[in-house]
Amino acid sequence: MAVTKDESELIELCRSGDRAAFGDLVRAHEQRVYNLAYRLTNDPQDAEDVTQEAFLKAYRNIARFEGTSSFYTWIYRITVNAVVSRRRYRAVRPATVPLSSPNGGEHPTLPPDASQPDPADEAHRADVRRVVEGAIARLDEDHRVLVVLRDIEGRDYQEIAEILDCPRGTVKSRLHRARRMLRDLLAPVLPADSAV
């Protein structure tokens, strides 16, 4: 996917040191980047830190952005790397997050479907959401990033391959493995008819 015209103009301005133009780029991508960071870290504070780091890094290295891929592919890649290096840096931190508190962030979540008035149903959905978030968090990093990029961010295999800088075949096989792991973790909440 090529860079859109507006975006390429913004990037050009950024290259010449235009911080305002970069501000526009940040505003255009902050939600995606933050969401990606949040799903990868499962922690609001970490997500914000990673988002900031990713954008700062992007600004510092904007000259190296060649425009052959889209800006978001590039910034996703930076974000993923930021998460990975962050985790390496804090190797003590366990890769898993307790299932009980994945929703402890201070930022409100958008309701999955605002047209659901039933409080009981709503509570059930929240439970399921927590379980799903916990399950994703329990995947190891290599697999979690695929689930997040594919099923949360909706990237196709080719884009994921670019973001992760790996062959498309690897994306395919690893994503499949990740989903099976996830399915096993989610077995309690999967609809009965779909259990293996």
Binding site: Q31, Y34, L110, H176, L182, L186, S194
Partner: protein
């Protein structure tokens, strides 16, 4: 298609990432295989759950916080990229400053002990450095430098008028030497006389700073906060940044300048040493055995700087009509802190493997603060020790003629040569002189191969100011 094969494709099938053929094959299998159908259903349900997760919205104010961090980063020492871009100009500017600041007052501006220190301590390094430097110097005389500057000027597009007049006459071919442009290190070989030209480059670098500052100001003015605020911010930021840049640049320049002065000084020192050794070599040529001569010449040619002293030493002690046998050689050294110096000397002497002897000078002979170290060692050891001490900043005032260690010392006017004396009266005379530190060397009066001849060395240190006073008296 087997179950195993089909199951590996199910995720991709769900994602629509299979080729039409693969897709058909999977569908065919699914029609026949209930297990794989359930597998597919469970995967689909899993994916459905994950996709149902709500999007997390970024906390408010995140772009502003990022912008703030960017501003902080830019104001702070994050300017490497900028410096890298301007490196050639800055390097040249550094040289210019070296010459402007250091050259006119080099004799006094450089701590006196620094010269011997570098001359000896870095002999090896010098050897490595001076050769390419010299080679470059030969290659890079004005005709190359001028086009290089011209190219840089052209490239940077702008320059100040100050200091233009200095391009050396007839040395500016019109063609821009692209090769020269690629070799900023050539600047290090620029002759010392070109200080004024280089000053241009300083001005150039300054221009660059201003330009980048202007660019930053414009960029900030175009910012989203409204022209007034942006302008004020930009000005403030610009000022800070300019200040930072100036400081940082000054530091960079000082660093460059130190580097290049040291290099130049060492080069000069190497030359000096070479010249120093020349008479000895010449004498050898005249009278020495041919193979010895060839050997020494080869040595001198191969490693001029490092070997010059050795050549000279050997020439003076061996090959030439034997020099006056040395009974006693005195090297006066002024030391600021005699006790501290004594500790260092003792450590060095032990490390060198020399034999420490009880100090002989005592009582009334000894001045206040004076320290004596006495040891026995070979010529070679003494040379090594002497070099070590020079490295540590000892300032030798006096070295006896004929002592091999002299060749390791820089030729300086204060280093006076004395006639040989016998041990006992010399001691008295030294006592009378009283101050300064001395290396007394006692040796047999018959010429012997230096390695076989042990020396008895007395090192005396007295506070530096007393040494200086004594020097004046003389």
């Amino acid at each position: 298609m087997q179950c195993r094969e089909a199951q590996g494709e199910l995720s991709a099938y769900l994602d629509g990432e299979l080729s039409p053929e693969e897709r058909r094959a999977v569908e065919e299998h699914l029609r026949e295989c209930a297990d794989c159908g359930r597998e597919l259903a469970s995967l689909r349900a899993t994916v459905g759950l994950v996709r149902s997760l709500p999007s997390r919205s970024a906390p408010p104010g995140l772009p502003e916080r990022i912008g703030q961090r960017l501003a902080e980063e830019e104001a702070a020492p994050k300017r490497r990229g900028w410096v890298r871009k301007l490196w050639p100009a800055l390097a040249a500017a550094g040289i210019g400053l070296v010459i402007l600041f250091y050259s006119p007052r080099e004799p006094r501006g450089v701590p006196e002990h620094a010269q011997p220190k570098q001359a000896v301590s870095r002999t090896e390094a010098l050897e490595e450095e001076s050769r390419p430097a010299l080679a470059m110097k030969r290659d890079a005389e004005p005709p190359v430098m001028a086009p290089q500057r011209a190219a840089r000027k052209e490239k940077l597009g702008r320059r100040d008028t100050e200091g233009t007049a200095v391009a050396p006459a007839g040395s500016a071919p019109p063609a821009v030497d692209a090769e020269a442009e690629k070799r900023p290190e050539v600047a290090f070989a620029e002759p010392v006389t070109k200080g004024l030209e280089l000053d241009e480059d300083t001005a150039l670098a300054e221009t660059q700073v201003r330009e980048s500052l202007d660019a930053a100001r414009k960029a900030a003015e175009a910012g989203p906060q409204g022209p007034e605020v942006a302008k004020a911010d930009a000005l403030e930021e610009g000022r800070t940044r300019f200040r930072d840049l100036e400081t940082a640049d000054a530091l960079d320049r000082v660093r460059d300048l130190k580097k290049s002065t040291a290099a130049k000084r060492e080069e000069a020192k190497a030359q000096e040493l070479r010249e120093d050794a020349a008479p000895a070599v010449a004498r050898l040529k005249a009278g020495g055995a041919p193979e010895r001569k060839a050997e020494l010449e080869a040595l001198a040619a191969e490693k001029p700087a490092a070997q010059a002293d050795a050549v000279k030493a050997k020439a003076e002690t061996q090959a030439v009509p034997p020099p006056r046998p040395v009974e006693r050689a005195v090297i006066e050294v002024a030391a600021a802190d005699t006790q501290e110096v004594r500790g260092r000397i003792l450590a060095d002497v032990r490390a060198e493997g020399a034999t420490l002897l009880p100090a002989v000078r005592e009582g009334a002979d000894r001045r206040e603060g004076e320290v004596v170290v006495r040891f026995r060692c070979s010529q070679k050891q003494l040379i090594l020790l002497m070099r070590g001490w020079l490295k540590q900043g000892f300032k030798p005032r006096y070295v006896s003629k004929g002592l091999a260690v002299r060749s390791a010392l820089p030729a300086e006017e204060e280093t006076v040569t004395r006639q040989r004396r016998s041990m006992a009266p010399a001691k008295e005379r030294e006592a009378a002189r009283g101050a300064g530190a001395a290396v007394d060397r006692q040796a047999s009066s018959t010429p012997q191969p230096e390695e076989a001849k042990p020396l008895e060395v007395i090192v005396r240190f007295a506070p530096a100011e007393k040494g200086a006073a004594a020097e004046k008296e003389k």
